[in-house]
């Protein structure tokens, strides 16, 4: 629609977002933040899908986005439940306390 927003630019943006998400996952210690960062990554993927869909003029991209949305919802629900359990057990959401199994 707006010619100034080229598809490549959108892809680059998606890539950037994706990597930002990765950075978030890696450097944060709080599990909630990690989940949030993953949401960013999923968003980036969704963005890429939608962009590609509109690039080809197909609805498939958006459909995939919807599926991603569903998946994110399911995942977040379980993830948050797990976070609750973790917090009850460890009294902390620090990911580095979860190191009991190794070697």
């Amino acid at each position: 629609m707006n010619p100034s927003v080229s598809i490549e630019m959108i892809l680059l943006l998606a890539g950037l977002l994706f990597v930002l998400g990765i950075v978030g996952v890696i450097i944060r210690k709080n599990i909630i933040f990690m989940l949030l960062s993953i949401e960013i990554m999923l968003n980036a993927a969704g963005l890429a899908f939608v962009a590609a869909g509109s690039h080809w003029g197909q609805p498939d991209g958006q459909i995939m986005f919807i599926f991603i949305l569903a998946m994110a919802a399911a995942e977040v629900s379980i993830g948050l439940a797990l976070i609750l359990q973790t917090y009850h057990q460890h009294k902390s959401l620090d990911i580095d306390t979860l190191k009991e199994m190794k070697g």
Partner: protein
């Protein structure tokens, strides 16, 4: 900003902003349906879940302080460099010339709906199962009261 905030609530708010801007982009890309969903489900539903949990666990300043301590250059330098490399690779590969023709056009909600309930019907069903799995799993894992009580009792016995 989401990545760098220490306070979870702040981070969440930034995320919402990011999501809103994404939805604008979706709109620009000619995907109004997706843009709406983004706002409603993501910014609405999912974020609320997050906030709910944060509130439930009462994560506030303490967490913020903790995070502050953790986020030191030596912790994030290495991963950031790695990510930078990955980003560089991605950008390099994406920007390599590719000669696909661009035919940008609006795909409205109707088109999406038609294909969603046409060829992707099974996909929808499967998505339903996916959500069911999520719900059942979350329900099971979330129901902790008995367990926790049990656990506390157990812990107290020896002490």
């Amino acid at each position: 900003m989401v990545v760098t905030r220490h306070n979870p609530v702040h981070a969440l708010l930034y995320l919402v902003i990011s999501l809103l801007s994404l939805s604008v982009i979706f709109f620009l890309l000619g995907a109004p349906f997706a843009a709406l969903l983004e706002i409603i489900i993501y910014a609405g539903a999912i974020m609320v879940l997050f906030i709910f949990v944060i509130m439930l666990l009462n994560l506030g300043k303490e967490t913020a302080k903790q995070e502050k301590e953790w986020l030191k250059p030596k912790v994030w330098a290495g991963p950031t460099i790695l990510s930078a490399i990955l980003l560089a690779e991605l950008l390099f590969l994406i920007t390599l010339p590719n000669n696909t023709t661009s035919s940008q056009q609006t795909v409205d909600a109707k088109a999406v709906a038609i294909s969603l309930f046409g060829p992707y019907l099974i996909g929808v069903e499967l998505a339903a199962m996916l959500l069911m799995a999520g719900v059942v799993g979350a329900a099971h894992i979330g129901q902790h009261k008995k367990t926790v009580l049990h656990r506390f009792l157990k812990e107290e016995e020896p002490s």
